[in-house]
Symmetry: C2
Subunit: 161 residues, 2 copies
DNA sequence: GCTTTTATGCTGCAATGCAACAAAAATATT
DNA sequence: AATATTTTTGTTGCATTGCAGCATAAAAGC
């Protein structure tokens, strides 16, 4: 459970390494939790790991179709569900799209997504204090928070240049 | 621009009043901005104001169909777009649904939505400091935030009883 | 080996959302 | 007022997202 720094993926980072790490991490998680990272699940994860852009379910299908028999939508949705349940993939609600988690944060920690509207890349920041204070504000109204979605759209450092 | 308190709508509040206020406010806003609150736009807003639950576009259609000729989806989407552009309606991303703004906050202020997963009601809290600190965290990574989506799912005070 | 659980495949369809063009209504212009 | 222009609404059609329900295959447990 490495705690990476809260950064936006730079365009020149070693992405092969980054993706390989994520796969290794996924294997680790599944082994620990006695879950099965089947070929399809792995393939879906790899498709998402091919970039730091969230992919729609049908984009995932298209990517998989290049390598194997085109999977039915439901197949991909099921794999995505599995991956999300195990904290390996996030759903970006404001885009109806899915993002491989490059962060290795523990399941409990709350993350915020930074979505660059120019290049489409998404960074995660571990937003502990801020979401904590949001949750507190909610609790003060008697509301019992369970799950937070924080998605910030804007322009990433690289695209501002 | 009344600044209401950050609360979850109680089940026993005077909803007729609450909805009437919102309509009056909408008229005011449109007058100020030289925008036209046409019959359809008003009807869509009224449909959303019938509850504090976000409605899907097709739920809005169903509601309107009870009163007038069933509008085509695109008609409702256009009205929703107009209402959102003028800050009268919010889109709840995690639900693909739309919520009449009962808040009268100014356009700039950032709000977080509290979504009760039991009764489906949604409250708004003006989440200034917290989202501010989120935005700051984002900026620290070089990201220029523009628009924030904060949606917190949980259980409202009333439903915990 | 057989049963039970888990995962995948297949067919079909519901829900969401919008593009492109046509008609109508409101506004502006001379 | 008549015409031109802009804004809004209507119509048709379709793309995208998402999943239900049942059948089959593979893996795990006894």
């Amino acid at each position: 459970m490495t705690m990476t720094r809260p950064v936006f993926p730079t365009p020149d980072h070693d992405h092969g390494r980054c993706a390989a790490d994520a796969i290794a991490h996924a294997e680790q998680v599944c082994r620990n939790r006695a879950q099965k990272l089947t070929p399809i699940r792995r393939a879906v994860l790899e498709a998402l790991l091919s970039s730091h852009r969230p992919l729609g379910a049908y984009e995932v299908i298209d990517q998989l179709a290049a390598e194997r028999a085109r999977p039915a939508p439901i197949t991909v949705y099921r794999a995505l569900e599995f991956l999300m349940a195990n904290g390996l993939v996030h759903r970006i609600e404001s885009r109806n799209a899915y993002l491989a988690c490059a962060h290795h944060h523990d399941a409990a920690s709350m993350v915020a997504f930074l979505i660059c509207e120019r290049c489409g890349s998404v960074g995660e920041i571990v937003a502990g204090p801020a979401t904590q204070s949001l949750n507190d504000a909610a609790r003060r109204t008697g509301f019992a928070p369970k799950l937070s979605v924080v998605e910030i759209t804007g322009t990433c450092a690289h695209c501002q240049a």
